[in-house]
Symmetry: C2
Subunit: 566 residues, 2 copies
């Protein structure tokens, strides 16, 4: 959020005038928060970026659930924050020294080129009988200790929900002062709107989360046999660069994989502190460093702040390092776009540490999360179009390292339905379209769509049947289509084989048989791995033959997504 | 690994004699590694534990994939490690000062009460034309630059795969010296075996990964109507405490949730540095702190070291923070036991941030991973028995916060089949067992087994049919059973409804209809949430009635796990 504030201030505030974007960001945290790796990652980056308006108040009460922090957390926290480049202060008696806390906050505000941390040493459960113990971490005090604490703090234990008059009066004065601040801020905004109507309109649009009117027209499209094969990560880079000017709210970067993720916004400067000579707060390409978890968490903060559409990137498998924060994107209804390249065994030699297997299923099982796996230019554009329009959900766009052919029948419009028929052997003169109806559907995603098309041709000519291939750039979107449309893509009465270079598990929802993985990948050139694992035209032909034989003369129950709507 | 060495040394070495467990652990890492949160978590704990035999050589070459570390990583790394309590050194010219590196390693070895980090400043691609640039991070030099580098380093560029004689001779001498070290170590071990045959036999057993002979006999069992309801997390705590003495290799702890995870080994001291006064290296309960990712990674290290069976604990949802390392347990074939409590909406008031939805599906889709969700005492014991016997795979044991009744028909032996029939309305005199064959199967796991039993009773009396409930403490184990057994649990020809308070998605593999979640949970007392979401006897009755009506007179296709074996 502090990063968003710094950027939007640099973008919208006018020199010599009252700022329209201007706030501090306060964090209240405890010992546990500062043990988690994600806070270390984020704090290191905040120090590098010199986010002077970020102020962390660290409640150093020495107690976590297991007991004293002496059990596991004896590092020198402030020294660590000094190492991160933060401004550090310590209030030694946080139980009583309220003035000291206020002074420290004022001092923190005055330091404008560094984030600040204020370690406030306190006693947990101050005033209660259980003060200083883990017994007050997660449980209510209970009636007798509540009375004890009230007495200790100068209250009448017989009175409940009692607010002393001077406290009530003080809070009223705070409300009045705050109302005055809001009034001033409204005047500032109103003056800004008169003087800079275009900027004000832009800020209003972005704050509402609305997209620029022309955005779909800017998305790359392709058609025809002359379209060159490409890696979908490159097609993603094309989309980002096609919309970067029209969408100044698009802000993001990569966890140190820029040249692999293809996330650079060409010509757009880095978001950096001006002292680095490598950019400024007006820049909007973020160098997150090798910090996947903080990257995702920071994007959540940017989305929460508003007026920005954050995107971030790593390899699909390393979304696993960020999963806690990715889940929070979904739970918090944040439009964060995750660019997840190297999305399968197709990445080749890096091998099983880098090759996702379970990740797509994990993300598809996460509520309010859209998982895209586009196959070509049109599907990649459709994925971004849908991701941008889903203003209250994150999107994971899984993209390939390896080059794949264009899908001849694809269009952005068809892909935006989440799934569509992209190939039919009946349309191929070289094949024998004897059967009136299709005998089998191949359901594929991303880089396996072109493999499925080859497999369909092979199976059609081997078995002398009509085979249809459907591409599913987004299963969540497909599931939202009307039943009649869904059944046109996955028709009742004929078997479906799914083809995805990822866990088979989960595909039972859409198919009768699966081509995929239930083991880890391997290190080799991508074509060799695909061949070895049978994710190939031959593998499709082999399984397809068995499936056709199994169902010959039998009734085929519809796949769950089509039937059983109880 | 350094933690394992410290513990096993304390356990097996004898004062005044040559140590049988005695090695340093070296880490070679780069800038990227030290940006990741997991290394920060682990390093903070290593400093707290004073692991003096851990030596990290940090290749400070200032280059990551995006370019200079000036882009994102400008913190003072050594100062941070000082804050963690490490011994820190800097070799400023790592390109040339080999003697300085050796001296630093010797100094690091001499510091026995702190882990050491040696920052070695180097030039990436030293000697090549692209020296000092990110161009040499991930790509081969190419012929011309290879020649350039060879020349720069004093070699003849025309010679390939050339090893100078003095280098060959030096390596031979290293091999000889190493052989001598091994011979000495063997003698030490042999002398130890003569003098301490019991300890030597124990170390040998544990190094082979073998379990103590009597372990299954120690597992808690329960039967009869008098068994008190219990939370499965408590039953897990009973197992750990039942085997702790027989299994001294059992070593682990919690990410600061000991009283919630029920992972304390009563009477077993903490693994702590003796200076803390809170335990010693001979202790085997680990206080991991609020560091889930490092916790899982440390357990991988312990498993890799050998002679230990590591376990660790957090809430099931926070396995997501550790997922990178959990996946490595599976990929590396490590027997790590993950105790994952608070495994559903049943945790109640903590709400959706704590309530897993997708986690079980994510873990079930991970290859070589066993996911257990026991329902009672016998199933919990069976889960541990299987987890301990699977010497080359991790186990995740999902456990409840809330109290559930004992499953009357359960036994450890049945549960060890992964799935079994645990209730049949035909056996209930109060219900009308008119139908000869079962009309419907309810497939449930963990805390939903008792709900399924109540639902079966309700549906049986409403629809006047026979309903069977099957419990699945481990689907991966169930899938390995013979087809005939699987079909006795999930018979062909009758519909199956799954009941699990987690993502429905994925259950299409085992059921025709699902009771579960495709949204996040909520904050309320557990019974209220279950009722609201329809994961209840009423919900089962309602869906069961619809499913029976749908399939009336229709053929029921078998669920994938039973049929379609192509």
């Amino acid at each position: 959020m502090a990063l968003a504030e710094a950027h939007l201030g640099a973008e919208f505030n006018k020199a010599g005038e009252a700022p329209v974007v201007d706030n501090f960001v306060y964090v209240l945290c405890g010992d546990g928060c500062l043990q988690e790796g994600v806070s270390g990652e984020a704090s290191s980056l905040a120090g590098h970026l010199g986010l002077g308006k970020l102020i962390v108040c660290y409640d150093d009460n020495h107690i976590t659930i297991d007991g004293s922090t002496d059990l596991s957390f004896t590092e020198d926290v402030l020294k660590r924050y000094e190492a991160y480049g933060w401004h550090c202060q310590h209030v030694e008696d946080g139980n009583n020294d309220l003035e000291g806390i206020e002074k420290a906050i004022l001092a923190a505000k005055a330091v404008t080129d560094k984030p600040s941390i204020i370690k406030v040493t306190t006693t947990i459960g101050f005033g209660s009988e259980k003060a200083g113990s883990d017994k007050v971490h997660g449980a209510a005090l209970g009636a007798s200790d509540l009375a004890f604490a009230k007495k200790a703090l100068g209250f009448d234990p017989a009175q409940t929900f009692f607010v002393p008059e001077d406290v009530a009066a003080y809070y009223k004065s705070v409300a009045q002062a705050s109302a005055a601040v809001i009034a001033t801020q409204r005047e500032t905004l109103s003056a800004y709107s008169s003087k800079y109507p275009a900027e004000a309109a832009e800020l209003a649009r972005r704050t509402k989360g609305e997209l620029p009117a022309n955005i779909e027209a800017l998305l790359p499209r392709a058609s025809g046999k002359e379209v060159k094969p490409a890696a979908t990560r490159n097609l993603s880079g094309n989309v980002l660069n096609a919309i970067k000017t029209a969408m100044p709210e698009l802000m993001g970067g990569s966890a140190d994989l820029t040249p692999s993720n293809m996330t650079e916004l060409k010509g757009i400067p880095d978001f950096q502190h001006i002292r680095t000579g490598k950019g400024s707060y007006a820049g909007r390409y973020i160098r997150f460093g090798v910090r996947e978890h903080a990257m995702a968490a920071i994007c959540n903060g940017m989305a929460a702040y508003g007026a920005l559409v954050p995107y971030c990137a790593t390899f699909l498998n390393f979304i696993g390092y960020a999963l806690g924060a990715v889940r929070l994107s979904a739970l918090s209804h944040f439009r964060v776009i995750y660019v997840a390249t190297h999305d399968s065994i197709g990445l080749g030699e890096d091998g099983p540490t880098h090759q996702p297997v379970e990740m797509l299923q994990a993300l598809r099982a996460t509520p309010n999360t859209y998982v895209f796996r586009p196959a070509d230019t049109n599907e990649t554009s459709a994925s971004y179009a849908l991701a941008l329009k889903n203003t209250h959900a994150p999107a994971i766009i899984a993209l390939s390292r390896q080059v794949v052919p264009h899908v001849l029948a694809s269009t952005v419009e068809k892909a935006m339905l989440g799934g569509y028929v992209c190939f039919d052997t009946a349309d191929q003169e070289s094949l024998n379209p004897t059967a009136a109806g299709a005998a089998l559907v191949l359901a594929a995603t991303g880089t396996e769509v072109s493999i499925a098309i080859e497999g369909a041709k092979k199976l059609a000519s081997t078995a002398n049947v009509r085979v249809v291939v459907s591409s599913f750039p987004c299963l969540e979107v497909f599931e939202k289509q009307e039943e009649s449309y869904r059944k046109s893509v996955l028709p009742d009465g004929i078997p479906v084989i799914s083809v995805e270079a990822s866990a088979k598990r989960g595909w039972e929802r859409y198919s009768h048989a699966q081509i995929g993985m239930d083991y880890f990948g391997m290190s080799a050139p991508a074509p060799d791995i695909y061949k070895r694992l049978g994710i190939s035209a031959d593998g499709i032909n082999e399984l397809g033959t068995k499936v056709l034989a199994f169902f010959a003369g039998k009734e085929v129950a519809p796949v769950p997504v089509n039937g059983h709507r109880w």
